[in-house]
Amino acid sequence: MKKRLLAGLLILLFSVPSFALPEPQAQVETMVNSVLSVMQSTEMSPEEKKLQISGRVQKFLNVESMSRRTLGAYWDGATEEQREHFSQLFVRVLEGTYLSRIEDYSDGAVQYLKQRVKEDKAIIDTVIVSKELEIPVQYKMIYTDGSWQVFDLVIEGVSLVRNYRESYGEIIRRDGYDGLFALMEEKVGVIEKKQTIQ
């Protein structure tokens, strides 16, 4: 009996790590495929598509991590309220920016080149091929709450988070947090208004 118990414990002990981390690349593929399937569907209206895509993508994004890295040092200096406010606005800015452009690549195919994993971080190299354009896109991921989540996109060597960080940092330095929020709100308003007109 004792032996059996011991064996059982051993099984538990050893079998845990072998299924602990799912493949991050598989996660990216799931995300990309689900977005592509929405874009290529013929039944949905453009608004419905945008809603669907936004919902599906958000499952794979780590908004908190993205926001934290975007604000960098300014994240530490912000109050809980400001952080929350920023995260919400930031998601809307990203949605406004990328959903309006995603249409252009609905005919694209995605090639997965390489996956690099180290502890809880991963980098996935992909290329979007569409017409004669080839756009290298790199996903940076982090393992949190039992799944791999994207926290940065590097498109043709340009990191999204880094780009936003540089601009937002400069604006906070100049106009403070409230200045940044006001500008973001204004921009989001303009983008969202344009999209409803279209």
Binding site: K3, R4, A7, G8, L10, I11, F14, S15, P17, S18, R68, R69, G72, A73, W75, D76, V93, G96, T97, S100, R101, D104, Q111, L113, R116, V117, K118, E119, K121, I123, D125, V127, E132, E134, P136, K140, D152, E156, G157, V158, S159, V161, R162, N163, R165, E166, S167, Y168, G169, E170, I171, L180, L183, M184, K187, V190, I191, K194
Partner: protein, 278 residues
């Protein structure tokens, strides 16, 4: 019997675990140093972010940026739109191929200066294939058939390769984002431009350049419009994007995937430099 099954289970699990651990070790080995560099300072939130590019001339740059913006929306873009209406897309792609083919000396020369023999070979190979089979560069069979892509190199990158920094950010009239280093680079590159030696009048030379620029703009998918529409401060956005992109270009290019892996020319034997082991 039960005992045997249990032992078997234990062994299997143990094997699986050690295998997956071994796989992990392999993964991190592949990851190497650039993996950490890729994450870099993002994981270090306490330090203020390092500036990508110095911009002491920001007020002047913003002024030039403003002028360029107006030129873009009220002159170059309308011209490019008219041009797009008159000339069908395949013809415009061919014009772009010709210009790209003629710019081979710039790319090949800089590859050589950086001792990137393989890239030099790639450029020579592309030039030979596209000038012959591609009918004077009108078509790009080197890429469309053989999958061999151009290697973008310029003198600014060569300077960067040998450790020179940007100096500071510059917005050039008409041309757009540049830096002290890259601006000087473009000047040096212009000596490798065949049009310089084509015995053209200054005016004709400018017309050629204008055609190149208009044609390029006509193939663009409103990139600049998107940036202006979406970013809070387009000037800052473009400055950062420019600095990041140049950094990526100077650094090792990891996206060089299908060099010499095309269906027809699937052999390194076609690159003479491979014969000597480069």
């Amino acid at each position: 019997m039960l005992r045997r099954i249990l032992i078997f289970w234990c062994l299997t699990c143990f094997l699986c675990t050690s295998l997956s651990l071994a796989a992990d070790v392999n993964n991190s080995k592949i990851a190497g140093d650039d993996f950490d560099a890729a994450f870099g300072d993002e994981f270090n939130n306490n330090k203020p972010p390092r500036k990508l590019i110095a911009d002491p001339l920001e007020p002047i740059n913003r002024g030039v940026f403003w002028v360029n913006d107006k030129l873009y929306f009220y002159l170059f873009k309308p011209v490019a739109k008219g041009y797009r209406l008159v000339i069908p897309r395949p013809a415009r792609v061919s014009v772009s191929n010709v210009f790209s083919n003629l710019a081979t000396p710039i790319r090949a020369g800089n590859a050589l200066l950086q001792l990137k023999y393989r890239d030099f070979g790639t450029e020579i190979y592309r030039f030979v294939i596209n000038t012959t089979f591609g009918i004077g560069g009108l078509f790009d069979p080197a890429e469309s058939v053989a999958g061999v892509k151009p290697r973008i190199e310029d003198f600014g990158q060569t300077l960067g390769y040998y450790g020179a920094g940007h100096g500071f950010y510059l917005v050039l009239p008409v041309v757009g984002p540049s830096s002290l280093r890259d601006g000087m680079g473009s000047f040096v590159d212009s000596f490798a431009d065949p049009f310089r030696y084509a015995d053209l009048e200054t005016e004709e030379y400018l017309w050629v350049k204008l055609l190149d620029a208009t044609n390029r703009l006509s193939l663009d998918r409103d990139t600049y419009e998107g940036i202006v529409r979406d970013s809070i401060d387009p000037y800052l956005f473009i400055r950062t994007a420019y600095a990041q992109r140049r950094l990526a270009q100077v650094g090792e290019n990891t996206y060089n995937i299908n060099l010499f892996q095309g269906p027809l020319f699937d052999s390194d034997l076609l690159n003479p430099l491979d014969w000597f082991g480069y």
